[in-house]
Structure formats: structure tokens, C-alpha cells
Assembly symmetry: C2
Homo-oligomer: 105 residues x 2
DNA sequence: CTGTATCCTGAACGATACTG
DNA sequence: CAGTATCGTTCAGGATACAG
């Protein structure tokens, strides 16, 4: 159970995964989809999730020996199983409309 | 969905909730169940979870006007709904035995 | 007993520059 | 294009002391 938490650590991680639930992505696609993340953090998340077995990294060697490098990330089977789990978490959060405007507090 | 994440923020929060899934608890009971948490962090978590509508705080005025103060925390209905969600998360984590001992890395 | 106040440390985050 | 290196900032977390 600590495993799940360590795999998902970081406050952006779930949003990254959320992107992948709609299909595979490249680094720049993610960069545009999540402008709030700096390159470093995005890079960290991708590396971490790859290590955790949630993502797979595929290098598509295009034509030149190394130019331009095309790297595509996809969810692993294990990562895809995370979909319903995160969905449940989001649903739970959406269920709750905390009404602490004035009277209670 | 950010709501769920903010409600659960902090790496000890889910373990605290886990305690509550087995029944209500007092401050000292939690302190013994989770020795890794300092008073401050435990206090922070309880306050945060109470604000988030996951826990309820009940003061049992014992006999003296204020001594000893007995405070008991219980899950709210909303908090109880978190049970299956966290269970799913833990199951997911338990499913994965990451085998990165030598060869792969 | 049930916390809060204070201070400190370390990790995560964020921005920018730079490399393969 | 896809990152890494470096640096500074911010914030959660840990320890201790103290208060209601």
C-alpha cells in the first residue's frame, strides 16, 4: 500500500496519468497539455512512473541516426489498471461540495 | 478531482484514514498506532481531515469542567465512502511486484 | 489528555540554461 | 525533440517545548 503511494507521489503525478488515459503522449504534447509543469518536474514524473512500471518508453528512431529523437510514452497494463482507481478517487472528490462559506466557520 | 488530492495530501494521511476504517480513535490511540508521526503532523492531519469533511470531532466532557479532555474522532459518511477507494488503491499497489534487482537495471 | 508554537531539515517544486 | 544540470524557493515533515 505504500507502493501505491510512492508510485503516485508528487502532486502532479495523477494529472500526468490522466493524460495517458486518453492515449499515448510525447514529451512536448505533455508539455502543452500541462503548462504548469516545468521540464524538470515533467521529466522527473515520467522517469518515476517508468520506473514504477506505470509507463513504457519507446524511442522511435526517425531517419537520421539521432535526429530528431521521437519518444513516445504509453501506459503499461499495470498503468491502465490505475484508470478505474483514479476515477473512483476523482468521483469521491467531486461528490463532496464542502460548504464552509460563513456560518459554520 | 483536485479536491480529492488536496483532501488526501500528505504522505501519512491515508494511513490515518486506514486507522479510522477500523473504528473511531482518540488522539493518543492514533499516536500509539502511528509512532512515526510527530504530534504536530498528527494534529495537522486531523485538523485537515476534519476541515475536509472526512472526520468528525467529538469532545466528551468527562466530569471536571475541562479535565481530562477526551476527544474522539470518527469518520463522516463522506469519509467512510473513502474506504473502498483507498482499498482499490492499495490493491493496485499490491498487484505490482516490481522486479528491478539486477538484470533490468 | 489534546493539542499549538517554534524552529530546523530535507524533499519537492519551479525557472533557466544547456546537452545529446 | 527530449531531456539533464544547476540553482533558488517553498513547503511538508520531524523534534521539542509549552498551553488549554
Amino acid at each position: 500500500m505504500e507502493i501505491a503511494l510512492s508510485a503516485l507521489h508528487g502532486r502532479w503525478t495523477t494529472l500526468v496519468i490522466r493524460e495517458f488515459l486518453q492515449g499515448d503522449r510525447t514529451f512536448t504534447e505533455l508539455r502543452h497539455a500541462l503548462p504548469a509543469l516545468s521540464d524538470k518536474v515533467l521529466s522527473d514524473r515520467l522517469a518515476h512512473l517508468t520506473e514504477a512500471g506505470v509507463l513504457d518508453r519507446h524511442r522511435h528512431r526517425h531517419r537520421q541516426p539521432g535526429w530528431p529523437p521521437r519518444v513516445r510514452y504509453t501506459l503499461t497494463a499495470h498503468g491502465r489498471r490505475l484508470g478505474p482507481v483514479l476515477q473512483a478517487l476523482w468521483d469521491w472528490g467531486a461528490q463532496h461540495r464542502p460548504p464552509p462559506p460563513a456560518g459554520t466557520r
